[in-house]
Symmetry: C2
Amino acid sequence: MRKPQLTRAEGLPERVTIYEVGARDGLQNEDAIVDVAVKAEFVRRLVDAGLTTIETTSFVHPKWVPQLADAAELLTALDLPSGVRAPVLVPNERGLDRALAAGVREIAIFASATETFARKNLNSTLDEQFAMFTPTVERALDAGLAVRGYVSMCYGDPWEGDVPVEQVVQVTARLAELGCHELSLGDTIGVATPGQVIDLIGALGQAGVGVDRLAVHFHDTYGQALANTLTALREGVTTVDSSAGGLGGCPYAESATGNLATEDLVWQLDGLGIRTGVDLEKLVTTSTWMSTHLGKPSPSRVVQALAG
Amino acid sequence: MRKPQLTRAEGLPERVTIYEVGARDGLQNEDAIVDVAVKAEFVRRLVDAGLTTIETTSFVHPKWVPQLADAAELLTALDLPSGVRAPVLVPNERGLDRALAAGVREIAIFASATETFARKNLNSTLDEQFAMFTPTVERALDAGLAVRGYVSMCYGDPWEGDVPVEQVVQVTARLAELGCHELSLGDTIGVATPGQVIDLIGALGQAGVGVDRLAVHFHDTYGQALANTLTALREGVTTVDSSAGGLGGCPYAESATGNLATEDLVWQLDGLGIRTGVDLEKLVTTSTWMSTHLGKPSPSRVVQALAG
């Protein structure tokens, strides 16, 4: 495998934390149920490839996401080495109960930046979603858990179109005040361009949510994910969400292309001399293996190029 | 169609010239011969979509690229409006003769930055290629033509691996001295990352080849094309090569994914408020139409998302 040439560009961090979402965000968009043993093997391979922060599953009600009904079983099957963080998504207090029973140490909650998506995804208004989050986060913090807050539809919404920056800032700031240690800014439908990324990160800083608490989560639906990620790194962000093999589309977008592929991200970061701890070759092998299980090719450009 | 939100990011140009390569660089990589009438219709549709610089064909010997054996016939079939530039690729003096006979006003020559690719593509050494270019360019300039110089394998070579920056600078500077008004820096196998882009543009500036004479030509083989293009824009480049629908792979790379798709580029530039004159909707329609003719889906993320 050709290694990209090492060249450090000015104004970029020395190290980036990759928050790997393939096992949860990726697989939850797959219709065909993946066996729990395959999921466990997938996570083990991700760890072996050097990923240290892996969102493994979701304690959402199995009725809504049948693919992840095996959340507790998966966590039992995993025997992760110390040093690997394995957060899980938790939609509400009932999910938190299940996560606590499974011995989870980190959770993530999933908020909407728009009214319409809050209604469609959470069956609540923009305000009401906090009635659900507040007790969940408070109890999680009391139990000593770390809580990440996802903010979805930050740059555009399929029903509302443009989303005012102030609205995204308000939702993000409320999650920060609730006690979320990290806020992940999601471009759920993949429409963002770099100017919007700069604007949002700047507005959040002015509202007191510093760049050290931010993660970025871009979708590659319109091919913009990596350029937006690079822009966020230049603005000081050091945590990037991505999905091995580009697993997972957004069911609300018109295209099957979803999450930024971890391989495409690592190619860029390796080339820039930015450390991630990830072994690209092992990761490509893992995504190729997973893509065989799913019976469809990976949308990752790097996986396509190297596994072809 | 959702229009991306307009946000101008600092340090970027107000306007970008898109140098459209789909009709030549894209189609020359297609095995099945496309009818000349379809090619002419393709170029007409590109013009109608607002593209004003369109490389239409190549006067390479038909033995090497049978797909473009109809170069003279295509130019006769085109009746382009004034204001549209229609350069053609010319490999040598024999090609120049054919181009002049066809009434061409602009040509491009294709140089290699590496020994191995010079040998494989031009059957010459790195030095010897200039023996071919020098009389071609001199005669073209004497005839009042504008000459663009392509430099290929600027950031990596499939046989040699890394390519020293000084070597790329030397080849580019020689083309500039020969009288090429524009130098297009090609990442022929798509391996570059942003630090290398900054380094090369900086080194060229120090060698007297200013950013106003540069164009960038990135391939999306490893998903890096748009992030690299954004980086080049920040360094002051204002001419970007791209291919409608992402037409054209590099026959020397392992993946089918080749040229940066014009649609993915325009999505980003539209979102940044950078003018290109291109109507994205018309362009997507054109690429979808062409992809039907070629019998395979466009690799452009934007085309996939909007035409799906």
